[in-house]
């Protein structure tokens, strides 16, 4: 999985490419933690190139979401692809992590 991030005036946009599985999820958490340490609290994850997520990925996202909540921050996910969206819906995560069809939609809510 590749992760790139860009700081916007509203928050940080993290772009994930590939798969968030048991092997790669820790890297996602580390990347977001690095931004949290810099004082960032608004994180948008652009998932347009994320083709796969397992429960390890969900666990990482939940860990990040819980941390952000304690800092009055938020994590938003944008542009989920088919199987990823399915996993979010089955697991109930779509009701606790805000999901947007587009990056613009997510940015507008920051």
């Amino acid at each position: 999985m590749e992760i790139s991030a860009e700081k916007d005036q509203k928050g940080v946009v993290v772009c994930v490419t590939g798969r968030m599985d048991a092997v790669s999820s820790p890297a996602f958490e580390k990347a977001v933690d690095a931004w949290l340490e810099k004082g960032e609290t608004m994180i948008v994850v652009d998932c347009c190139n994320l083709e796969y997520i397992s429960s390890s990925g969900l666990r990482s996202i939940l860990t990040v979401a819980k941390k952000l909540k304690t800092r009055n921050g938020k994590i938003l996910l944008a542009s989920l692809t088919s199987v990823v969206k399915e996993v979010f819906e089955i697991s109930g995560f779509s009701t606790i992590i805000p999901i947007y069809d587009s990056l613009e939609g997510a940015m507008a809510d920051l």
Partner: protein, 142 residues
């Protein structure tokens, strides 16, 4: 059936996934269905990697094949502590962020994504079987 047996460690996850993917492609499943199978496989394997062998060293075997050419079959076999993943209660998927527990979702996703899931304990082995029915003709291959 074709089989692959390797040490039950996370480093081998990708190898097992490639192995099953190749079997699923040969069977003729859609890309979407294959991703779902990979997800179920990962959930089952990570569970074995983390819990089957408390002493540390053990093997896990993954077998793929077809049953009557109508069902794609995946078997995950380990010689670890007796464990029936289907006997666990489902996580509460209606909980909010604060209450939501980290973990517990793996087997829940497996049961949802696979057409059938079976467990048996045989000769000191845990055998977890996934069955995926061949998709209807004309099914969108994406």
């Amino acid at each position: 059936m074709e089989a692959l047996e390797l040490p039950a460690v996370l480093e081998n996850l990708d190898t097992f996934v490639e192995f099953v993917r190749s079997g699923a492609v040969s069977f003729g499943l859609s890309n979407k269905r294959i991703l779902e199978i990979e997800l179920a496989l990962e959930e089952a394997l990570v569970n074995v990697f983390q819990n089957a062998y408390p002493e540390g060293n053990g093997l896990v075997e993954v077998c793929v094949g077809s049953r009557n050419e109508k069902e794609f079959v995946i078997e995950i076999i380990d010689e670890g502590v007796p464990f029936d993943p289907l006997a666990r209660p489902d996580p509460d998927v209606t909980q909010g962020i604060e209450e939501r527990e980290i973990g517990g979702l793996g087997i829940f996703l497996v049961k949802d994504m696979m057409d059938r899931v079976e467990y048996r304990r045989e000769d000191a082995m845990n055998v977890l079987t996934f069955l995926v029915s061949k998709e209807q003709a004309g099914h969108d291959k994406t």
